[in-house]
């Protein structure tokens, strides 16, 4: 019975989001000459039932993020290369040490007519930090913000003070759950934002309706009405093909093949914009031996994994997160398969003929298939990889403690954020147990460097270490697929969690 039930596309900071690798410009084939106005766009996302929320500071699902994005905005957004770009903050600068930041607000209005002012920003940040509401997602990422010393410098400038220098601070203000609300905002069920669409109605697990906001600062939307709906993968495919929706998010490679054979639906692919990896715990045998980690990296037949597990829709990975993003070390040689060298490394470690367990689960598309196929590839060197399957719903958490090797996927976020979440001694989601004091201090020092070129160089060195010695075997970079009906124009191929993904203020119906 369960085969018919699609799983929820769950996205956290570590969700099935995307990396901006090579984002195409407009993905539209035959672009209509003149954008048309009016009409209704129905966009379908993976549903989350009762989990869906209207409170923008508690978002955790793609569908929540899409809804909040239509109504609310952040100070900063992320570009296709995950670099901060101005939104409600028109510009920013810091005191030279990256400890005190000033953001100049744009001339924008809320849906109730009120002008955006510095106090709205300060109220928003204090609402996010409220210790009585631990479910506010951005609480930990903004923990270094010292609200007591932060203040308004006039109506359209806000000064934010940090407890420690951080050159990446603007990017933190672009993270999930950082939307700006009105000063005094108390009732999430009555959303008032500055976004391109004004709230009409919401039913958790079903739909949200919003209409065009005529005074939107960035040019009013062309469509008159936006509906954001929830449905499982199968139903999303049927809806967009059957004309019940014009936009369907996060589609499978299988569907893309079917759709491309027809004429009614177009696939917009953000190339190589998510990551799939095997993660090895560097403090547990046999992976506490760096030779074994390297051997496993040399054993992966990446192209075959991409061809089989991703149906060819993606690129091979190079054991690092964030290809194509700001700070990704350029000109790294690709990791080639070398079974002989892997064999000699494994022989030296005494692992030939032994059995290692790989812990996987049906938690995300392709996990079990990837683990099974990788087991075949490892077997060529004489090591048996035994595939053990766990509970899909608790896999993300279980993986932190269970299994010496398992599956991991990650979505679009700036590289420093990925490192903060997963690769420092105290990181909450450190799946590889990579805990090295020298790495921690090196990263903290790099993050405080205000010169971008120098900061980038330092990050590059740290990443090189990770690629060669770390526990992340990033084998593939899947495309992120969106399906649109043929009449929809102006949809950009952009990684999830970036500004141009799901920007319904820019689309029109031909």
């Amino acid at each position: 019975m369960s085969e018919a039930l699609g799983r929820r596309g769950f996205l956290g900071l570590a969700g099935a989001a995307g990396l901006a690798a090579t984002t195409g410009c407009g993905a539209d084939g035959g672009v209509a000459a003149e954008p048309k106005h009016g009409g209704r766009l129905r966009a379908v996302y993976a549903g989350g039932g009762a989990k869906e929320v209207l409170d923008p500071h508690v978002q955790s699902l793609f569908v929540d993020i899409a809804r909040h994005k239509a109504i609310y905005e952040k100070l900063v957004e992320l570009g296709p290369d995950l670099k901060p770009v101005p939104r409600l903050a028109a510009k920013w600068d810091h005191d030279g040490t990256a400890s005190t930041w000033r953001f100049t607000l744009r001339d924008a209005t809320f849906h109730d007519g009120a002008k955006l002012v510095a106090d709205d920003v300060l109220y928003t940040l204090s609402r996010i930090a409220d210790p009585a509401a631990p479910e506010r997602v951005a609480q930990s990422s903004l923990a270094t913000l010292d609200l007591k010393r932060s203040k308004a410098i006039g109506p359209s400038t806000v000064e934010l003070v940090l407890t420690q220098p951080n050159a990446e601070f603007p990017a933190l203000l672009a993270g999930i759950g950082t939307q700006i609300v009105r000063n005094g905002f108390k009732d999430p069920s009555k959303p008032v934002g500055t976004g391109a669409f004004r709230y009409v109605s919401f039913e958790a697990g079903r739909s949200m309706v919003a209409t065009r906001y005529a005074d939107y600062w960035d040019g009013p939307a062309r469509i008159e009405e936006l509906q954001i709906l929830s449905a499982d993968s199968e139903a999303r495919a049927n809806a967009v093909q059957g004309g019940q929706a014009e936009y369907a998010n996060d589609m499978t490679a299988t569907f893309a093949r079917t759709a491309e054979a027809g004429k009614t639906v177009r696939i917009v692919a953000a190339k190589a914009s998510t990551m799939q990896a095997f993660v090895m715990k560097v403090d547990q045998p046999p992976f506490d031996n760096p030779d074994v980690r390297l051997a496993f990296k040399l054993l992966a037949d990446r192209q075959r994994l991409v061809d089989v597990v991703l149906a060819g829709r993606g690129e091979v990975g190079n054991d690092l997160f964030g290809k194509g993003y700001q700070y990704y070390p350029a000109d790294l040689a690709p990791r080639e398969r070398d079974v002989d060298r892997a064999k000699s490394l494994l022989a030296k470690a005494g692992l030939i003929g032994r059995e290692v367990e790989i812990f996987t689960a049906d938690a995300s598309a392709g996990f079990v298939e990837a683990a099974t196929l990788f087991a075949e590839q490892v077997a060529e060197a004489g090591v048996r990889l035994k595939v053990t399957t766990g509970s899909p719903q608790t896999y993300a958490k279980d993986l932190l403690t269970k299994g010496a090797i398992g599956n991991h996927r990650s979505g679009a976020m700036p590289i420093p954020q990925y490192i903060t979440d997963r690769l420092l001694s105290h990181s909450p989601f450190n799946v590889t147990h990579w805990r090295r004091p020298a790495f921690d201090t090196g990263f903290a020092a790099a993050r405080a460097v205000t010169d971008e070129a120098e900061r980038s160089r330092r990050y590059g060195v740290l990443q090189q270490t990770l690629r060669d010695e770390g526990g992340i075997l990033a084998w593939g970079l899947p495309d992120y697929l969106v399906a649109v009906s043929a009449k929809v124009q102006g949809v950009e191929a952009a990684p999830p969690n970036t500004l141009d993904q799901g920007r319904f203020d820019k689309v029109w119906l031909a």
């Binding site: 956290g12 900071l13 549903g47 039932g49 449905a231 199968e234 809806a239 019940q244």
Partner: protein, 312 residues
Amino acid sequence: MRVYAVQRALLALGQLAVLSVLVFVLTSLLPGDAAELRFSETLTPSQVAALRAELGLDQPPVERFVHWAGNVLSGDLGTSLISGGPVAGIVRNSIGATLVLTLATLAVVVPLAVALGIVMGTRENGRIDRAITSVTLALSAIPDFVIAVVLVAVFSLTLGWLPATWIGSNLLASPALLVLPVAVLFGRTVCLLSRQVRAGTVRALHAEYITQARRLGVPRRQLLLRHVLPNAAVPGVQELARTGDTLLGGVLVVEAIFAIPGFATALVDGVETRDVPVVQGLTLVLAVAALLINLAADLVCNRLVPRSELLR
């Protein structure tokens, strides 16, 4: 009769109590809890722990169950751990679609299954009997999600006659939404039901009193409607009461494929997110419905064939 009614009522309450404990225990045995599953990818472990305390999930299970049961006895189904809204509201919001779906299916299945059953029964082992048997058996042998996928591919995506999903539409505006889901559920239930009616018909036709009625020259039509049908219907009605679980399984698949925001979807969501009060509330409602249906079936059978042994 009164003694019987009291006995049944007590039995029903006992069954509900046992079921509630069982569902609670089983849901608690699933790995993870509501706070953990909802936020394990977005919040830090300490945030999750704080939420767990806030939701009362750090209380011992027995205490949580007693608290829940106390609320239920005072007529309150409690609040969802996930949405924070009342469970009663979730029941109300999700039951409508499923009820319409189920009733529409029954409205199609019952008359058809009875007619088919009688046709088969009166032509026992004839060509028509075999043909109908083959078709209905084939229908029930195909998994329902396969039927659903094929029907959608043909009638929605290729021909464009019927809506493919319920996404963003409502039943009042387009009743055509019901056609495909009901067709799938029909395929799932028609076989067993018509088999039972057929069996009842065959048994009745072979009975002594029918042979006697024939000898007395009762016209065939009257014979079938007056004497055969009531007896033939008994196993059918009992089967109908038992169809509940078959139907629920089908409804689950149908709701997922057609994106129908119904009861089964809410139940699966509840289990997946470990929203114990919601799972408890929904199963309780389901159990009460099942008990009432069985009671109604017994009463109907008793009317059809007033024999006391049915009620034992």
